[in-house]
Amino acid sequence: MVDLIVFITLLALGYGFGRYAETRHYKSIIAREKELQNIPVIASKFLPVRDKPSDAALVSGSVVISVDYFKRFLAGLRNLVGGRVTSYETLVDRARREAILRMKEEAKALGAHMVFNVKLETSSIHKGRRNAVGSVEVLAYGTALTKHR
């Protein structure tokens, strides 16, 4: 009985705070993406050849986002029946976009006009008891190109 009350409280806390954090984060992500849209992020390995010569610098951005109790519980149940782990989708999506944004912010500080050869790396930090994923880290890095002045 006590177990059940503790469990429901944890779930509610996880849901409430997780949901609140997620909505806020998405709002901020969307706003900042609009703001930094003038710096294109390109996955191509090859620099634009015909461009005027430009300086290149490594820029990177990384973020760690934690799973909340509710999401973890949903994912655990998902393990039983299979299918899309929708509760983790938003988490990874947010982490990827946030990492790219942080990288772009660094590029903007350098006065870069675009970021080339962008790569993303994802890793899960803290594989807790029985490999339950605790939080996810996404690292985005690329080559920022700054026009010669």
């Binding site: 059940l4 949901r19 634009p48 149940l77 929708t86 509760s87 989708e89 029985r130 490999n131």
Partner: protein
């Protein structure tokens, strides 16, 4: 060459489904599947456990029972009452009931493997008359007659095995717990059914012994007072709640006794209060 990042519409990499909806669907589905599986497994094990011979049950019980002092006036009184109840319950010839008196303040009595019934001093102290004592005994003896101890054990083992297999293949501690709790709550309904069955048989025995079931409800009134406000809701408990058991006794009583016949409550034998203490104040037998 022009490079640009077009604005990508939201919701491509995420699902639109509301997380709460998924939660309800998933928990509901998983819980009902587990409940059904446990019920089926339980029923199966219950059926099969019936075929375990009583001798084997006795062997399983050997060496695992609490040590008790096997003589004294209380022991012989309980032995005598047990013989009378066994006689009216029409036991199969290969089954024997052994009653043991436990000088311990726990308010309880239980039946276990090998036809062993344990009566605690704590409960006997609180019972007001012989009919209530007979109700307790008859209830525990009925458990043995219906082979409840071995059936519960068989079921317990089958369910525990299955749940362990499922839950160790999962990754989450909390999901484990959900699986476990659903399993045990479902198993409790069996246990409540057994209690009801034992109650019904016990009432029949009392009817045969005394011609009425007066005094039987005293047992549950005692239990109810003992639990007080702490009585758990039936769903979470191994036993039906006392209120419901008292009501069933009253219904049984109305159906089976003739109204003009007075129910004579048999008092406890003289000296019962002294018999309770097996070891006297000086610690000598």
């Amino acid at each position: 060459m022009k490079y640009s990042n077009p604005e990508i519409p939201e919701g491509i990499n995420t699902s639109k489904q509301h997380p709460l909806k998924e939660f309800v669907l998933l928990t509901g589905g998983v819980i009902s599947i587990i409940a059904i599986a446990v019920l089926l497994l339980g029923l199966l094990a219950d059926r099969l456990a019936h075929y375990i011979p009583f001798e084997i049950e006795t062997q399983m019980a050997e060496g695992r029972l609490p040590e008790v002092i096997e003589d004294g006036p209380m022991q012989s009184y309980l032995d005598d009452l047990t013989q009378r109840i066994v006689a009216v319950q029409a036991f199969p010839p290969d089954m024997q009931v052994t009653v043991h008196y436990l000088d311990n303040e726990t308010v309880n009595a239980f039946a276990t493997l090998g036809g062993n019934v344990f009566m605690f001093r704590g409960l006997l102290e609180k019972l007001p008359n012989e009919n209530a004592v007979a109700m307790v005994l008859a209830h525990e003896i009925a458990h043995i007659k219906h082979r409840h101890p071995v059936r519960s054990m068989g079921r317990g083992i089958a369910i525990a095995l299955a749940l362990t297999m499922v839950s160790t293949s999962l990754g989450d501690v909390m999901v484990d717990r959900i699986v476990g709790n659903t399993g045990s709550l479902t198993a409790l309904t069996f246990s409540r059914d057994q209690e009801r069955e034992a109650d019904a048989t016990a009432l029949d025995s009392l009817m045969n012994l005394y011609g009425h079931v007066g005094g039987a409800d005293d047992l549950f009134k005692t239990l109810k007072n003992e639990a007080g406000m702490l009585e758990m809701p039936e769903f979470f408990s191994t036993h039906p709640i006392s209120e419901n058991r008292i009501n069933r006794i009253h219904v049984f009583s109305e159906e089976s006794t003739t109204p003009d016949k007075e129910a004579v409550i048999t008092p406890l034998p003289v000296g019962f209060a002294q018999w309770l203490n097996v070891v006297d104040d000086e610690g000598v037998y």
